[in-house]
């Protein structure tokens, strides 16, 4: 996340501790803007994200890309054939055969769909940011983290997270 807001980061060793902590802080206004960090995509945590943010909108990127690709794949050979100046095999110019075009429709459907999916992942996940804030190197290793913006190390939020199993609470600025 790119936020530069100061706050606290609670580090956890165990998945079930983080789950319990997330249940505890759910709906509490002081944790409204918390950010969860994980070293991998455990289903339990991704489910939490789905509850919080709703279904991922990446699907609309995929659909838009795929339909654009299919349309391009349909028209590209036809327009090229229409533009072809020579008579080939006794057939009039602008002769276009539809069955082989299915291949181009399919290939560009997949290609544009995949490219749009990547764009969606990058855009919605706020990726491609060279100044991304790395709160703690251990988060990419084997620890879980909950960042609470605006909270203090000696505050109530810190005590609550500690009581849920956080082994370290650190200040981030």
């Amino acid at each position: 996340m790119t936020t530069k807001t100061a706050g606290i980061l609670a580090l956890f060793d165990y998945l079930d501790d983080v789950e319990a902590a997330l249940e505890t802080i759910k709906g509490r206004p002081e944790f409204k803007d918390h950010i969860l960090y994980s070293h991998t995509s455990y289903h339990e945590l991704v489910h939490h994200a789905e509850e919080r943010y709703g279904p991922s909108q990446v699907r609309w990127f995929t659909l838009t890309g795929a339909l654009t690709g299919a349309t391009t794949g349909f028209w590209l050979p036809i327009l090229c054939d229409l533009d072809f100046p020579l008579i080939v095999g006794g057939k009039t110019p602008a002769f276009s055969s539809l069955p082989p075009n299915v291949i181009f429709i399919f290939e560009l459907f997949v290609l544009f769909g995949a490219l749009a999916t990547i764009l969606g992942m990058l855009w919605l996940g706020r990726l491609g940011n060279p100044h991304a804030r790395i709160l703690d190197n251990r988060l990419m290793d084997d620890k879980f983290g909950i960042f609470v913006p605006g909270a203090r190390v000696d505050g109530e939020e810190a005590s609550l997270l500690k009581s849920q199993g956080a082994f370290e609470i650190k200040k981030t600025s």
């Binding site: 996340m1 060793d13 165990y14 079930d16 501790d17 969860l36 994980s38 070293h39 991998t40 995509s41 945590l45 991704v46 994200a49 789905e50 919080r52 943010y53 991922s56 990446v58 699907r59 995929t62 795929a66 590209l76 090229c80 054939d81 533009d83 100046p85 276009s96 055969s97 082989p100 291949i103 181009f104 399919f106 290939e107 560009l108 997949v110 290609l111 769909g113 995949a114 490219l115 999916t117 990547i118 969606g120 992942m121 990058l122 919605l124 996940g125 706020r126 990726l127 491609g128 940011n129 060279p130 100044h131 991304a132 804030r133 790395i134 709160l135 988060l139 990419m140 290793d141 084997d142």
Partner: protein
């Protein structure tokens, strides 16, 4: 599968154990392999240089065989490129957990194999600098490419496959590169920082990543099956006896997966040793790969038998003559090598003991790769050399330059693969953690 694996490592060991190879020095055999690959590459570059300097005639192609080893190599390498996306995409959708330990290497193999395959049509053109003529680009003559030609279908199929495989591979790498970024310093940190795209592992990123990864897998699945089907149409759309058959698409796809799985095994086993990854790529995972190899081998054997049966049963004289010729004619050595390597030797894999005997399994997989190369050689050459008119028959054997290019392609492929293994995590760390026991304080009760 992975539910039954006995892990002696925990999630906390993953990054340390896998990135040790990237940060430190690999086993000396790594450098021997790299020198060997570079030597082969140099042979290939020399061959290509001679072709560009003196012309395509050096490759030994002449009437009636205008497609020789270059197209054989092309089909072989596209086939090798199949297992990567199969393991990544199809097995991902089927939730086959064992794929998580080898999917990264299989994806890398796919990318480098397809890049290698893509070189051969360019080499075969002779004037490689005109390669862009295969693309539908506006030009002064207003001459568009022929959209009804299987060769153009190939251009679209291969370039789409390469792009999608590359994206799939790279997106899978991003979280792991971020782990690497957080461990290194200086220039390396700068480079890995750019490549990691600012990944921090927050749950919003994982949320969109998981959804996007699923869509990429769903898009890639039909792509895997279509690419080699389209490659097979290079042959099946022609009227040449031995080629013009509807069995080709599924037969080619099964063959591609067979050679791809065998190549994955041949690559993963040595690299697992070089980078000391035995604790993460378990023997059970390798065994699962061999089971897939065995399955596809039986499909290929069935396809070989059906091809023969249909050639006989159809009553088509030319078709039957080609098939008889393949088994008993001047190319029978290639035919029987292919049959034994692809259908007979893999039968040993029915034995559990052999599936767990890594050296023997390595030899079987190596033989399968030889057999699959000969299969493509057999298909390409025997049909072209003896078609409908005996007056136009000829004979073809690869020239020295042909062999240089074939060995060179292995050098090119292995060089890229070895460079990849040194600079990027060979095992997908974030996905491997998902099949290992979860880090729980309270033991699961079930």
């Amino acid at each position: 599968m992975s539910d039954t694996v006995q892990w002696d490592k925990t999630v906390s060991d993953v990054n340390e154990g896998i990135l040790k190879g990237v940060e430190g020095r690999p086993h000396p055999t790594y450098y021997i392999a790299l020198v060997f690959a570079l030597t082969l590459l140099a042979i290939g570059i020399t061959g290509w240089g001679l072709i560009i300097s003196f012309g395509i005639g050096l490759s030994g192609k002449s009437s009636p065989v205008y497609w020789g080893t270059f197209i054989t190599d092309f089909v072989f390498w596209v086939g090798i490129g199949h297992a990567g996306t199969l393991i990544s995409a199809i097995l991902f959708l089927f939730r086959a957990k064992w794929r998580n330990s080898i999917n990264r290497s299989a994806e890398a193999m796919t990318v480098f194999a397809v890049i290698t395959a893509g070189l051969f049509p360019l080499i075969h053109m002779g004037r490689v600098w005109n390669g862009f003529w295969t693309l539908p680009l506006p030009n002064t003559n207003n001459m568009w490419v022929n959209f009804r030609s299987p060769l153009l279908w190939d251009v679209f199929a291969i370039s789409t496959y390469l792009t999608v495989s590359l994206l799939f591979w790279y997106m899978g790498l991003v979280p792991d590169i971020a782990s690497l970024r957080d461990r290194v310093k200086g220039f390396k940190r700068f480079v890995y920082g750019i490549l990691s795209l600012g990944w921090t592992g927050n749950i919003r990123q994982w949320h969109h990543y998981e959804t996007g990864y699923g869509f990429l897998a769903a898009l890639s699945t039909p792509l895997v099956l279509s690419v080699h089907s389209i490659v097979s149409w290079d042959f099946a759309m022609a009227l040449q006896p031995g080629w013009h058959t509807t069995i080709f698409p599924p037969y080619f796809v099964a063959g591609a997966i067979l050679s791809g799985c065998a190549m994955v095994y041949n690559l993963v086993v040595p690299v697992r040793k070089m980078f000391r990854l035995e604790g993460f790529i378990k023997e059970e995972h390798l065994e699962a790969c061999l089971k897939l190899t065995l399955l596809t081998s039986t499909i290929v054997a069935y396809a070989y038998a059906i091809e023969f049966f249909v050639a006989w049963y159809s009553g088509n004289y030319y078709e039957w003559a080609i098939f008889k010729g393949r088994a008993t004619g001047p190319y029978s050595f290639y035919f029987w090598t292919m049959t034994f390597c692809n259908c007979v030797f893999p039968l040993l894999l029915w034995s559990r003991k052999i599936r767990y005997n890594i050296p023997v399994a390595m030899v079987i997989c190596f033989l399968i790769n030889i057999g699959m190369w000969f299969e493509r050689y057999n298909i390409v050459i025997s049909s072209l050399a003896e078609d409908f008119l005996p007056g136009s028959w000829g004979h073809y054997e690869p020239s020295i330059i042909d062999m240089c290019m074939t060995f060179g392609s292995f050098g090119w492929f292995f060089t890229w693969f070895l460079i990849f293994t040194k600079f990027f995590p060979f095992v997908s760390m974030s996905e491997l953690k998902l099949i290992m026991p979860k880090p729980l304080r309270r033991k699961p009760t079930h």
